[in-house]
Amino acid sequence: MKMEPMEVFKVESPGEEFGARKYRELIMDILQDLGLIRSIGRLYVYIDISRPVFAVYGLIRTGMPPLTVREMGDLAKTQGGYQVKVNDEEHMADLLKVLWAHYGRERVEQPARDLVVIASDTSPADLVVTDVEAGFRQDLTDALIRIAPEGFRNRKNEMTEGSFFFIAAEDTLTPELIEEMKSKIRSMQNA
């Protein structure tokens, strides 16, 4: 499904209009801080403070393939090996870790900050440096925990390929409560 970033963003909190408005701001701030806005397509938030319970359902804009060495920068064949000139240093540590594991430490050298030289005849082009999607899921879980009111210590997070459902409450999470929240979210989607 093709979606724009945050094309739908609804926050509902019965009896707490101010709280709902503020939570909208807060969620935007936190998602922006963690750089997640572009990866979320739709977001529905339901907060019932009289219970108290907090539920979020979101659709993820998926389709990020794992990052390979080829995509990290310019890969060139040199005399006696390969050389990678890294453009974005964000995943440098992961790159070195993968190369060390694959070629052994003695065959990987880093003569400059953004340069890695590998003494081997086999090309590292297709080695997977990091799974961006897995990193994104971790960040997303972190964001959800930050967003939920702090006292709501009983939490449950259901993540599927293209969506996530997060619920947090002060009391024990019962299957009935989870089902009720899901139906609330469904009615928000259909509204």
Binding site: E16, F18, G19, D29, S50, E150, G151, R153, D171
Partner: protein, 307 residues
């Protein structure tokens, strides 16, 4: 009458300001040196303000009124987690400090939630050692009403902040309620946010004025800055305290940041020019904060004199 003011200027010749304040019978409450700049919190006799102003303009320094100088305010959040810090709590604390207050950030151990929020005896005791407290709550009106339990037993004035508009009559135990802060995830920088911070400062100012008025009905035997000066002169070890403010002032006493067991007798024996000792005019007891010494000056009704 002493005027609370804050001097900001270069380190060069700032000792002239300190000397003049001492000569005029004022007090230096706090001195912060940050690289080449120095910030002095002082109490200056109102009638001598022109002399101080003249010297400071000659030194190209800045002098502003610091209405909260000489007081200690507790900034209380439900916990010290990322949900409450750094933005709201630090912004409020910073704003209070700029107005001269000494702020202590207190995160409760179990202050979170609507049903499960609690405060224990130690925490309320610690907050009660301050001159006023500010409780920072979130965005839901229902939660803010429920969390009254946290400050019901606090004996100092409590200013409550939160997001939504709530009538003060719904919060009988709060001194005042300041809305439109709540939980935020960005630094306060918009005009309306800064305006709210100003309102908090004003509210704390009113709370302290009420305490001052109560104290004035039965005046303290001596003023806290005087005790501070005497302790500083007669217990030289205080200079070696690692705390940035070795003697913190309250409206009704001081907190001496030295170990209680070792120094309680030394503090009690501090003698004023009039011949009385601190032990005779004040209660010296262990503070709830670390193992510091808390000095509470007795009112005139108990000692029978004022000096």
């Amino acid at each position: 009458m002493l005027e609370p003011v804050m001097f900001t200027g270069g380190v060069y010749k700032h000792d002239l300001v300190m000397e003049l304040v001492a000569d005029l019978g004022g007090y230096i409450l706090q001195k912060n040196v940050t690289q080449s700049e120095v910030i002095l919190l002082m109490l200056v006799p109102t009638e001598d303000m022109p002399a101080i102003k003249a010297l400071i303009s000659e030194l190209r320094g800045e002098l502003v009124r610091a209405p909260l100088a000489g007081t200690e305010v507790a900034v209380v959040t439900p916990t010290l987690a990322i949900h409450h810090l750094p933005h709201t709590a630090c912004d409020i604390a910073e704003y209070l400090r700029r107005n001269g207050a000494k702020t202590n950030m207190i995160g409760l151990a179990r202050g979170v939630g609507r049903e499960i929020a609690q405060i224990n005896e130690y925490e309320s005791g610690l907050i009660n050692e301050h001159d006023a407290a500010i409780f920072i709550f979130g965005n839901f009106a229902e939660c803010i009403r429920k969390k009254e339990d946290l400050y019901r037993n606090i004996s100092v004035p409590v200013v409550v902040t939160g997001g939504p508009e709530i009538s003060k009559s719904e919060m009988p135990y709060a001194f005042e309620y300041v809305p439109s802060i709540g939980r935020i995830a960005h630094r306060s920088k918009k005009a309306n946010e800064l305006g709210t911070l100003d309102k908090i400062v004003d509210s704390i100012g009113r709370a302290l004025d009420r305490t001052r008025a109560e104290i004035a009905k039965d005046p303290l035997t001596t003023s806290p800055p005087r005790v501070m000066d005497a302790v500083r002169e007669q217990i030289p070890e205080i200079e070696y305290s690692f705390s940035p403010l070795p003697i913190a002032l309250n409206l009704n006493g001081v907190r001496v940041k030295l170990p209680y067991d070792e120094y309680k007798d030394a503090v009690k024996a501090v003698r004023f020019d009039e011949g009385v000792t601190v032990g005779e005019i004040a209660r010296v007891m262990p503070s709830k904060m670390k193992d510091y010494i808390l000095v509470r000056i007795l009112p005139m009704s108990e000692t029978g004199f004022v000096f």
